[in-house]
């Protein structure tokens, strides 16, 4: 009963969601760079999903060595050359997309799972709860980006899983802060007070009325963050603090190729190019999403 009533105010708060989405898409599609970014992201996802079928040599992509053909320059047989263990670099780069996307999705989901509830709670409750949560958040944000993650991985022991865990630990405060802002700005609004007056529990108010309004900013932030996390995870791997050999990981490949960078330039170069393109794609899409979901932009 109360649940049915409670849906009314939310509908009033965001009229005609369908037309708003269409408007957002129009703003998005008008931006040519956004479409470039979207193409990169779609390509990246396809490559990651289809890796075993499109990689020239899936076994080498996963790590099997073929030392007889080591350090071959790019040619028609090996479009991006081979690495010091004779593996086809193109296959390695293709399989690397799985590692990159996997880590990024894991980290961002975990950061959202921790940060969003805390942010909702802080913004909605206010008072000492807000104060306590935000001071903890501030403390985590007081570390320069990546430094905390580097420290955590080095102390837990370097591995891809620990890298992901460390990145999530240093990333959640951004979501807490973001969602707290939205929740705090809506706390006194009539539709929230109405929902409360109808007897909805705090949890229900947060879930049904505050969370939907924070979704836009969360989606924008998550899109940009997938790119940032790919970059951060690659940086950790480059220091030896992420994925370990023989995993196909872009950051690790740049690191591996660095020793002989002047003789065999292709190994590091193409792996790094993959990182760059992936991050660029998510950044372009994130920018365009921000413009599209921001009602002020739509009027321009």
């Amino acid at each position: 009963m109360s649940a049915e009533l409670a849906t009314l105010p939310r509908a009033a708060a965001s009229p005609a969601p369908r037309s708003r989405l269409r408007g957002a898409w129009e703003v998005f599609a008008r931006d040519r760079l956004a479409l470039v970014g979207l193409a990169i992201v779609v390509l990246l996802v396809l490559v990651a999903v289809l890796a075993p079928w499109i990689a020239p040599d899936p076994a080498q992509g996963r790590g099997a060595a073929a030392v007889a053909q080591r350090n071959l320059a790019p040619s028609l047989d090996h479009l991006l050359g081979t690495d010091p263990l004779g593996r086809d670099v193109l296959s390695r780069v293709i399989f690397g997309a799985r590692s990159a996307l996997g880590v990024a999705l894991a980290v961002v989901s975990l950061a959202i799972a921790i940060g969003v509830p805390l942010g909702l709670l802080a913004g909605y409750r206010g008072g000492w709860v807000d104060e306590a949560i935000m001071r903890v958040t501030d403390t985590f944000l007081a570390f320069p980006p990546l430094l905390l993650a580097m420290v955590i991985v080095s102390l837990l022991g370097p591995s891809l899983r620990n890298a992901a865990l460390a990145l999530a630990i240093s990333w959640w405060p951004w979501y807490a802060r973001l969602v707290r802002g939205v929740a705090a700005s809506l706390r006194e609004r009539p539709f929230v007070e109405g929902a409360r007056a109808l007897g909805l529990s705090d949890a229900a108010v947060m879930r049904r009325h505050l969370l939907p309004n924070a979704l836009g900013p969360i989606v924008v932030q998550a899109t940009v963050d997938v790119g940032s996390v790919i970059l951060a995870a690659a940086s950790l791997a480059f220091l030896g603090l992420g994925a370990q050999a023989p995993a196909p990981d872009w950051g690790l490949m740049v690191f591996d190729g660095r020793a002989a960078i002047f003789d065999h330039w292709w190994y590091s170069t193409f792996a790094g190019l993959a990182i760059f393109l992936a991050v660029l794609g998510f950044n372009l899409v994130g920018d365009a999403l921000r413009d599209a979901l921001d009602p002020r932009e739509a009027r321009r």
Partner: protein, 338 residues
């Protein structure tokens, strides 16, 4: 102003306490035994025990934390397990090299980013605007360690124009040694008239500084573009144009002056990025700064060194953010230090 400073200092202290607590706990909760790593792999159990007592690791955790706080406050940041030297003096001897790199990168990024942002805003919606936006987004999307390697391949290996690694040519150490005044090679060699080292140092600084500048250039360009668009649509700009003020003056003096204060908000974030970004650039270019030291410490679980660098990073970050707030309040009267 004084009250604002006091309040900010108080919050900074609370955050710093939290930071020190996190670093302390991280170093103590982890499975690796600091005492075992201190005495080395081949130590006898009795030696490990002794090291544990000597390092105070047998005391209760909170007591250890209190001791740690007292030590940090009195300038004793522990001894690096890797180099067996005091962490603070390790940091002190490497900091100038890192700061030199940071300042060079900031200078490049501030000039280049502002110019790109203003030009893009003036060509709003045209091809050049899109090209510059792609360029600045590329800047923030590029892994610094990769950009560094690519620049090395092109400029050092293929073209042979610039030296790939180091701070200045190593043979100059003997032929014309630099007098240590500040530890900043560029400054020291210039004041002492040591132009051989100065020239070599500039050559060596160029690529690392450009690499490190890529990200902040992109951030600043994007921010300046956005706030210039805002400024250029204001009435005072229209009024200035109506009075016949030359377009160059309208854009670069009138509009830009009003566009810069909002753009400074990103400065804090940018500088924070630079603190860690420099680590990677230093590793790639063998720059003898804090980054190399930190990378080694991280890989060998040299926890006193790790804690020291982390604490320094957090202090630097907090100070930078405070400075940005102050600059902003000074530039923009609307920010009333609330």
């Amino acid at each position: 102003m004084a009250r604002f400073l006091a309040r900010r200092a108080a919050t900074a202290m609370v955050v710093l306490l939290g930071v020190s607590f996190i670093t302390f706990m991280l170093a103590r909760v982890v499975p690796a035994d600091p005492a075992a790593s201190y005495v080395g792999q081949h130590a006898r159990p009795a030696e490990v025990e002794e090291a544990r007592r000597a390092l105070g690791l047998d005391r209760p955790l909170l007591e250890q934390y209190w001791t740690y706080l007292k030590d940090v406050a009195s300038g004793d940041w522990g001894t690096s397990i890797g180099t067996k030297r005091s962490v603070l003096s390790e940091i002190g001897s490497r900091f100038p090299a890192t700061l030199e790199l940071l300042l060079a990168a900031i200078a490049i990024a501030a000039v280049l980013g502002t110019v790109l942002g203003v030009v893009a805003a003036r060509r709003h919606g045209r091809g050049l605007d899109a090209a510059l936006r792609l360029f600045s987004t590329a800047g923030i999307s590029m892994p610094a360690f990769w950009l560094g390697l690519v620049l090395q391949i092109v400029f050092c290996y293929r073209l042979g124009l610039l030296p790939p690694t180091g701070r200045y040519a190593s043979d100059l150490q003997f032929t014309s040694p630099v007098e240590q005044i500040t530890g900043f090679v560029l400054f020291d060699s210039l004041v002492t008239g040591n132009f051989a080292v100065f020239g070599s140092a500039v050559e060596h600084l160029l690529l690392p500084a450009l690499t490190l500048a890529a990200y902040p250039t992109g951030v600043i360009a994007r921010m300046v573009r956005a706030s210039m668009l805002e400024a250029l649509s204001q009435d005072y700009v229209r009024a200035a144009r109506a009075y016949g003020v030359r377009e160059r003056v309208v854009v670069w003096r009138i509009a830009l002056r009003n566009a810069l204060p909002p753009a400074t908000t990103v400065l804090g974030l940018t500088l924070a990025y630079l603190l860690t970004g420099a680590f990677f650039v230093e590793v790639v270019f063998n720059w003898p700064g804090l980054g190399q030291f930190t990378a080694d410490a991280l890989l060998s679980s040299d926890y006193p060194a790790i804690m020291g660098v982390t604490l320094l990073g957090a202090i630097g970050y907090i100070l930078v953010n405070l400075a940005v707030d102050l600059v902003q309040a000074r530039l923009d009267p609307r920010v009333r230090l609330s």
